[in-house]
């Protein structure tokens, strides 16, 4: 005999697994610190690449002027200012991605909790049916 309530629950859970659940389940397989740490690390790497690209464009933009002035300027000071700029950019970007991924993790774990609750409900239904 078909249990209508159970079929409805199973359909809902299957559609969750196919849509939002896929991402949530993937996120849920990490520990919180692992997930956020890994994502922030990836962000730092992409911010570094982005910084290099922008810096390269900046150099190329005024290449001739830069080449003539490179002998006059204080290279140590220049490198220092670039370093500060780099740290500032990467720091800001890492902070933003930390916030984004913290929110994502907590959202995913909340929705997974609801999913596991439904799973329990489902197994309870099966047990009841066996008894009945």
């Amino acid at each position: 005999m078909l249990n209508e309530e159970r079929v409805v629950l199973m359909t809902k859970m299957a559609s969750y697994e196919a849509r939002d659940g896929k991402k949530c389940l993937a996120i849920g397989s990490y520990f919180r610190s692992d997930y956020i740490g890994w994502q922030v690390l990836k962000s730092i790497i992409s911010a570094t690449i982005a910084f290099v690209v922008v810096f390269a464009m900046y150099i190329f933009y005024d290449f001739e002027i830069f080449m003539t002035e490179i002998y006059k300027m204080d290279l140590l000071e220049f490198a220092k200012s670039i370093l500060y700029l780099y740290l500032g950019t990467v720091g800001t970007y890492a902070f933003i991605s930390y916030v984004v991924y913290t929110i994502r993790y907590s959202r995913a774990s909340r929705s997974l909790r609801a999913y596991y609750m439904n799973l329990h409900k489902l197994s309870a239904m099966y047990k009841n049916e066996k008894k009945g």
């Binding site: 990836k42 962000s43 992409s46 911010a47 690449i49 982005a50 690209v53 922008v54 390269a56 464009m57 190329f60 933009y61 005024d62 290449f63 001739e64 970007y93 991605s97 984004v100």
Partner: protein, 321 residues
Amino acid sequence: MTTLLVAKQILLTIYSKYEVYITPLLKFLLALITLCLINSRLGYMETINRMTVVLIVALMCSFMPMNFIVLMGAVFVLLHLYTFSMECAAVIGAGFLLLFLLYLRFSPKDTVVVVLMPLCFLLRIPYVVPISMGLIGAPTSAVSVACGVIVYYMIHYVTQNATMIAAMADEETAAKFKFIIDGLIKNREMVVTIAAFAITVIIVYLLRRLSIDYAWTIAMTAGAVVNIMVLLVGDLIFEINQPLLGVILGTVVSFLLVLVLQFFVFYVDYSRTEKVQFEDDEYYYYVKAVPKVTVAKPEKKVKQISSARSGAGRSTRPTHH
């Protein structure tokens, strides 16, 4: 109105019934239009400027995730630009890379806006995107819309100045580089458009979330007005000389298109609003429930007329238990 509602109902039924086929078809069409437009605007590379190549890639896009269209669009643009001028490809490629690294890497759900935005620009109704993203998206959609605007203006700048760039000698790499970057960074029209669209998205979003009657309509109207205002003020401050009539006409057409969207997504009957209060162990609930307007699809009645005796006709029908 009832006819329209019935039509909507039928469309929704057809969509839910054939979703498996319709979604890939829509993706295919979007990819096809995008790639054809890119080819018609930038067709420098002969190899990919062929209908067969476009069709094959569009077919691939139809069963790949939505972001694949964005990727393919970027690849096509870069290949064309590479054939045209190395410097152009380098600058635009760096721009795409930055957009990807800094924003699209977060893989927001509305990445497709980056493709839709330039398309709507070419159709002269770019305003439809910020207003509808405010209605169906989140405030972060403002960043996606901004990315779309940047992509459009980057490509637009290159196509507009193609003769100028081509006329520069090959040895003038540094000068070319400077010319292209200057054009992109000092493009005031782009900055004003980004500001206008971002403000529009946020205002539309804030207003449609309000718990007032006709929130969506108010949000759309306010969004359209604010969009025109910011564009005009920006125009006056930075002396861009945007065609005023084009902006207003484009906004009106966009508004009408968004009305269609509203009809499909959020068509409710405010006269039957119910306000209820209840409580459970943890909360008090103040609920405002606005019913959606729906009509029952008229059922077709098939009357069987047969010359056979009535008893025979009845017995052929399958019965369900």
